[in-house]
């Protein structure tokens, strides 16, 4: 059992080696079987992938940003629940479980109970088809939603259940499923955010989109673990093209010493660093178009 997780070092090593590049032995992980010719994933790969997955924020963070911007609720933007029958491979099921999961988080943030239960049903159905349905029990979650004035508790429980599902998938050496879920979820959250940002011409949202450059790098690292899988390869290719657009985004940071004070028995840390994100409306538009095309491949 590995007790110490050097995820940071792993990420740095992968990033500095230009992961996804052609050299087979350059990434320093050639001794770790990633995906073998039969498509089986090794425990080591699953563990490493699990650490990267842990580092990526869930889509609900972007949904909260959308709501904070004052944007209204757009149910038409969500993936149609009727599309579920189209998803006939594990890859499509997993990627769309991520998409519907992101939609569910967005709905919960906006407190639309009827839509939430409808999307929860879809999430449960896809989870069952992927043999991870044990983490969602409709009646329990519905009862929690019924007993509260807002859907915060439902949001917390679904977030926590998705995390348990990811942990289980990692234990079962099925972290590729988690990776597809996560990628689908991120694409959906970006699809919603870029749509709202352009509609509202909201500069704060543009900056939020710009900083997703860092998350995209992480997702590309993840997909690199499964490069023998044609689905991962196709997705990685599309995301590499998206990364090309993100190169137009400039992020500059000036470090400042943090200050810490005790408030009501809690330690409050004030970050004194400052970041400047430079991104234009044109770049956001290009990102939106690229994200929209990737989403179409996943959902249509």
């Amino acid at each position: 059992m590995r007790l110490v997780l050097y995820s940071g070092s792993i990420l740095m090593l992968l990033l500095s080696s230009g992961c996804g590049s052609s050299g087979e032995d350059k990434d320093g992980f050639s001794n770790i079987a990633k995906v073998d010719s039969t498509g089986k994933i090794s425990a080591a790969t699953s563990e490493l992938a699990g650490q990267v997955i842990k580092s990526i924020p869930p889509p609900v963070e972007l949904s909260a940003i959308i709501k904070n911007s004052g944007a209204e609720y757009f149910s038409d933007m969500l993936n149609e629940t009727g599309n579920i029958d189209r998803y006939n491979t594990n890859y499509l099921k997993a990627a769309n479980l991520g998409v519907y999961g992101a939609d569910l988080g967005y709905i919960n943030i906006y407190n639309h109970k009827e839509d939430a239960l409808s999307f929860l049903n879809i999430v449960i159905k896809l989870s069952e088809e992927l043999k991870v349905g044990q983490f969602f029990e409709f009646e329990t979650i519905k009862r929690i939603a019924d007993n509260s004035n807002n859907l915060d508790s439902m949001l917390n429980i679904t977030q926590s259940n998705f995390e348990k599902m990811n942990n289980y998938l990692q234990e079962q050496n099925r972290s590729n499923i988690s990776t597809y879920m996560l990628t689908g979820g991120w694409i959906e959250a970006m699809y919603l955010t870029t749509f709202v940002a352009i509609e509202k011409n909201d500069k704060a949202l543009y900056e939020k989109i710009g900083e997703q450059k860092i998350v995209l790098d992480q997702i590309i690292i993840l997909l690199d673990f499964y490069k023998n899988d044609q689905n991962a390869l196709g997705l990685a290719k599309d995301l590499e093209a998206l990364r090309g657009v993100f190169k137009e985004v400039k992020i500059e940071t000036v470090y400042g010493e943090p200050t810490m004070v005790e408030e009501n028995g809690m330690l409050v840390v004030k970050d004194n660093s400052k970041t400047t994100i430079s991104i234009t409306r044109e770049t956001v538009d290009k990102i939106r178009e690229s994200v929209s095309n990737i989403r179409k491949k996943i959902t249509d």
């Binding site: 650490q51 900083e211 470090y255 943090p258 028995g265 970050d271």
Partner: protein, 137 residues
Amino acid sequence: MKRIHKSVLIVSLAIFSLLSILAQCPPEDLVKKCSGKLGDYMFLKSFKIEKASEDVEYSYVFTTNTSYLISLGNNTGDGNIEVNVYDSARKLVMSNKLKDKVYPTITYTCKTTGIYYMSYKIKDGNCGVSVVGFKKM
């Protein structure tokens, strides 16, 4: 023969010790307990921390203008886990230790989006959890 018996005994003891450690480490209960302290913060992730000779480290992408709450707990009570968070340049951005006091809960409003490294050390017990919640500013 005697040597074989001795080896079997040592292996059995090692397995028993490991199982005992695992039995005392129910992260699910600790996640629930720490999640209960999130208040108006929304659950984001939980990180399992086990006693080790070196610090246990996880990475996470924190984003600007987001307030994070880190709630820590272990199987011997609160305040027995130290956390230091470093930015991508390995500069310290926060710690739950101030003037020798270790706090079980810290809040942090991020001003710089990036990969951060959360380095945990269990001071007492052998199993702990860190739950991270967020709210937009």
